[in-house]
Every structure is written in structure tokens, then in C-alpha cells.
């Protein structure tokens, strides 16, 4: 095993998982509780809970559909049981059929058609149990880092995010890309004030124009609300941590993506069309943005935090990094990597190299604190009202 490879689960579509979950997925929020009951019954499964799937319009329902299908197709997922109600906009058979295109075992159950709530639960449990038996036979095998998509995220930022944690993560993004892999940079509102630096790194005019466009849209959307960003971006905790303006926060935030050219700009939950650094247009929501990246195929999220946060995803390890020495101790049970030695003089490249080693351990199976404590947060960016 050298630094350019890891041990992962090879899926029928050729993608490589770093985890081996059987996913119980609601096609509609009405089945959230049934899904959680199935997951509680069947060891080896993970449940997603969400509040989407009906009463949505146009690009908003398309985004939900893309997200649910993408989460099912994520390489960390060995098999999927989609649970539907029966009268919803996004039907369980449809979502399951789209996920099944990846070749992984996929099934669906529908409450209104499978004998009611309890019988559907039982049917779902039986299917999930068989899927777990199959998945438990799968073995990790060597894979290239070129198969890896890392998602980068910051949440609860303070001044140490730009000084240490995001900078160390940038080193890792560069290393993964150098090895042929992909890094996703998200949180479009946190490009504001730093977009000129991303535009300079765009591989062509089309990508440059897309970067400007997504920033324009997020500013216009906020302006349509008729209020300034003050109090929201940066957040009160960001301000307490020394970040005064969105420009300052953004300049520190974009370090996460490293220093390589921006090769593409994609929509929320869309698979990256190329290796290298790719921008995904998401909100700065600490859960919805990582979920968008997971739906785009990211197998692992590297999450920097200056103030500290416990969040985790159902299907991806979320490797938490802080540059704040106080938080590294005070929230030790949520922090997987301490980048704060940079503030005491550790060279950035050395900290980045150590973080890269931690990433390799995590993709090889080392559990993150968010996984150990069972954090399974899930949220999807909304683009429109619910009718």
C-alpha cells in the first residue's frame, strides 16, 4: 500500500466505497419513521431522514430527486431499500429504478401498496436483512486515490479557520488532486469577496463565467429578501471568533480547495464531470452542503471548524479539523484532527501532510468521531417554496 492507493469496496459501476452501508431511504418525508424503525431493527443499515419529496416545483423537486438518487448511488452504499408512501411526487419505484442503474442491489416498498404500515416495515426489514448478509461478504480491495472524491466544508468558522484548518485542508485537496482524485469546493455564499481569486484559477472562460454567475445569483437571492447579510454571513459565532465581514470569511474559506485550477462548476448533488478541483453550487448549510457533495459521489467529507461542531452524515465519514487549540480540547470528542500547531509554528505543509495521513486512515476504515457517536444528519438545499 503506497500513498496513492487505499483499500475500498468496489461497486458494480466501478466506483470505490470507503464504507459499506445498506441504506434505508425515504422517497418522501411521510415514511421517515418507518425508515428509522427498519434501520433500528436491522444491524448494518443506516437511515436517512428528510422533509422533501412532495409539494415541490421545477428545479426544486429536480434537486431533491437528484439528491436522493445520488445518495443511493454513492459508492459507500452497498445496497438500498427505498421506502415510499404511494401518493407522493417522487415515487419509490422510480427512485429505486434510477439507483439500480448503478448495478447495486436495490429494492422498494410502498406503504399504501404493501399491506399498510406494519407489514411494509416487516417487508422492508426482510429485504434489508438479505442485503446486509450480502454486503457483509464484501471485502476491501486496493484502489487508486484517483477514485476518491473528497468533499470540503467549513462550519462554525473563526479566524483560525483561515489561519490553520482551511489552509491545512487545502494542502490535502492539492495532494488528492495530484494523485488523480477530485476535491469539491462548495458554499457559494462564502465565495463572496474572494470570487476574483477563484475566477483567476478557472481553466477557461466558461468556468470563470459560471463562478461569477453563481455568486451573482446568491447575492440576488439574498437581496430579494430585502435585508443585508449582517447577522447571517458572517454568523454571530463567526464574528465573536474574529471574522468581521463576509469578504474576510470567504478569503479564508476558499483555502479549503487548495491551489489547483478550477476545472468545472456543477449544480448541487451533481456528479463531478472531471477529476481535479470542482466547485459545487451549494448553500453554506453545514449539513445540506455535505449531503449535496455525498449525492455527487463524495466518499468522505473533510470539515473544518473553528468554533466546534459535532455533525456527521449517515453514509460518509465526516473528518473534523480545527485550528483552534481551545476547541481541540474542549470539543475533543468531535474533533478528529488538530491543525492548531500551525499557530505555534508548525509548517503548513507538515500539518497538511499529517492531515493527509489521517484522511488515508479514515478512507481505509478508521472511524471518525461523528461515526462513533452515531451522528446521521441529513438535509437538502431548497430552491423554492413548498406548495
Amino acid at each position: 500500500m503506497n500513498e496513492a492507493s487505499f483499500m475500498g469496496y468496489r461497486r458494480p459501476d466501478g466506483s470505490i466505497g470507503v464504507r459499506n452501508h445498506v441504506l434505508i431511504l425515504p422517497s418522501i418525508f411521510c415514511t421517515d419513521h418507518v425508515v428509522s424503525q427498519i434501520a433500528a431493527m436491522v444491524r448494518g443499515t443506516v437511515a436517512v431522514q428528510h422533509d422533501h419529496g412532495c409539494g415541490q416545483l421545477g428545479i426544486d423537486i429536480e434537486q431533491t430527486e437528484r439528491t436522493l438518487i445520488g445518495i443511493g448511488k454513492n459508492p459507500n452504499v452497498a445496497a438500498v431499500v427505498v421506502v415510499g408512501l404511494g401518493c407522493e411526487q417522487l415515487s419509490a419505484p422510480y427512485i429505486a429504478a434510477k439507483i439500480a442503474e448503478s448495478g447495486k442491489p436495490t429494492a422498494h416498498v410502498v406503504l399504501q401498496e404493501d399491506g399498510g404500515t406494519l407489514q411494509t416495515m416487516a417487508k422492508g426489514c426482510r429485504i434489508a436483512a438479505e442485503f446486509v448478509r450480502e454486503a457483509s461478504q464484501l471485502k476491501r480491495e486496493p484502489a487508486s486515490l484517483g477514485a476518491l472524491i473528497i468533499g470540503t466544508q467549513c462550519g462554525g468558522s473563526d479566524a483560525t479557520s483561515g489561519m490553520a484548518a482551511n489552509a491545512a485542508l487545502g494542502v490535502v485537496s492539492d495532494r488528492v488532486i495530484e494523485a488523480g482524485g477530485t476535491a469539491l469546493l462548495t458554499e457559494t455564499s462564502e465565495f463572496v469577496g474572494a470570487e476574483h481569486l477563484l475566477v483567476q484559477r478557472a481553466i477557461d472562460e466558461k468556468v470563470a463565467g459560471q463562478i461569477i454567475k453563481i455568486v451573482d445569483i446568491v447575492e440576488a437571492r439574498a437581496e430579494a429578501m430585502g435585508v443585508d447579510w449582517v447577522g447571517s454571513q458572517p454568523s454571530p459565532g463567526n464574528v465573536a471568533g474574529g471574522l468581521t465581514t463576509i469578504e474576510e470569511k470567504s478569503l479564508g474559506a476558499i483555502y479549503k480547495g487548495g491551489s489547483t485550477p478550477v476545472r468545472a462548476v456543477i449544480r448541487y448533488a451533481e456528479p463531478p464531470p472531471t477529476h481535479g478541483l470542482v466547485i459545487m453550487d451549494t448553500s453554506s448549510d453545514d449539513v445540506a452542503s455535505p449531503v449535496g457533495m455525498a449525492a455527487g459521489g463524495a466518499q468522505v467529507i473533510l470539515f473544518t471548524t473553528g468554533r466546534g461542531t459535532p455533525v456527521g452524515l449517515p453514509i460518509c465519514p465526516v473528518l473534523k479539523i480545527t485550528g483552534n487549540p481551545r476547541v481541540a480540547q474542549a470539543m475533543a470528542e468531535s474533533i478528529d484532527f488538530d491543525a492548531s500547531p500551525i499557530l505555534k509554528g508548525m509548517p503548513l505543509l507538515e500539518s497538511g501532510q499529517r492531515l493527509f495521513q489521517e484522511l488515508l486512515q479514515v478512507v481505509n476504515g478508521k472511524l471518525t468521531y461523528a461515526e462513533i457517536f452515531g451522528f446521521q444528519d441529513f438535509s437538502i438545499d431548497r430552491l423554492g417554496p413548498v406548495l
Binding site: 473563526d158 479566524a159 483560525t160 483561515g162 489561519m163 463572496v192 469577496g193 474572494a194 481569486l197 447575492e219 439574498a222 437581496e223 430585502g226 435585508v227 443585508d228 447579510w229 449582517v230 454571513q233 464574528v239 471568533g241 474574529g242 468581521t244 465581514t245 463576509i246 469578504e247 474576510e248 478569503l251 479564508g252 473553528g306 483552534n324 481551545r326 499557530l343 509554528g345
Partner: protein, 96 residues
């Protein structure tokens, strides 16, 4: 010379430094005024917060990471805390 243990300056163009530890009023972190005289801190600077290392006139850009992070809402002297009370973002505003 600015104390590397006390603050970090990210870019030669910056007119603010960021505190690497909690700093107190009167601390000498190596700041000088335009005549080269030593300037003690005017304000306490909490960990992660910014201190002016050059005079910043009212309306001028505040520069960190070599980029503009907002404008001074009043003149800021060397050694003063730079934050929401004396600078403001130019983005994310409703255009009137």
C-alpha cells in the same frame, strides 16, 4: 519587528494583523507609528481578532490576505482593534 508569537500578517499588503493569543491593552507586540516610534496596543485584542498595523483612514480598505475585506467606518490608528465597530463589509448589502 512584529512579534511572531503574538500576531500573524498574511500578506505584505495587509494593514491588519491577526492575534495568535489574547493580547491586552498596553502590550508591546512590535508595532511602530509612521515616525518609527513604538506603539503599545490601544485595545485588548482577543485571540483571532485583528489589530491595525498601519493607520487606516476613514473610508479606506481594510486589507487582510492581501485582499480587501471591507472599509473603515472611521479613522483607525495603529494598535487599535479592527472589527464590527470600526469597519464594514461592502458586500451582501441591499442596494438602495
Amino acid at each position: 519587528m512584529l512579534s511572531e508569537a503574538a500576531v500573524v500578517v498574511f500578506d505584505p499588503a495587509d494593514n491588519v494583523a491577526t492575534a495568535k493569543t489574547n493580547l491586552a491593552t498596553g502590550d508591546d507586540i512590535g508595532l511602530n507609528d509612521v515616525e518609527g516610534e513604538s506603539v503599545p496596543l490601544n485595545d485588548p485584542i482577543p485571540f483571532g481578532h485583528k489589530v491595525a498595523i498601519r493607520p487606516i483612514p476613514e473610508g479606506a480598505w481594510v486589507v487582510k490576505y492581501g485582499a480587501c475585506i471591507g472599509r473603515a467606518t472611521r479613522a483607525i490608528a495603529v494598535g487599535e482593534h479592527v472589527h464590527v465597530h470600526n469597519m464594514v463589509s461592502v458586500r451582501g448589502k441591499v442596494r438602495s
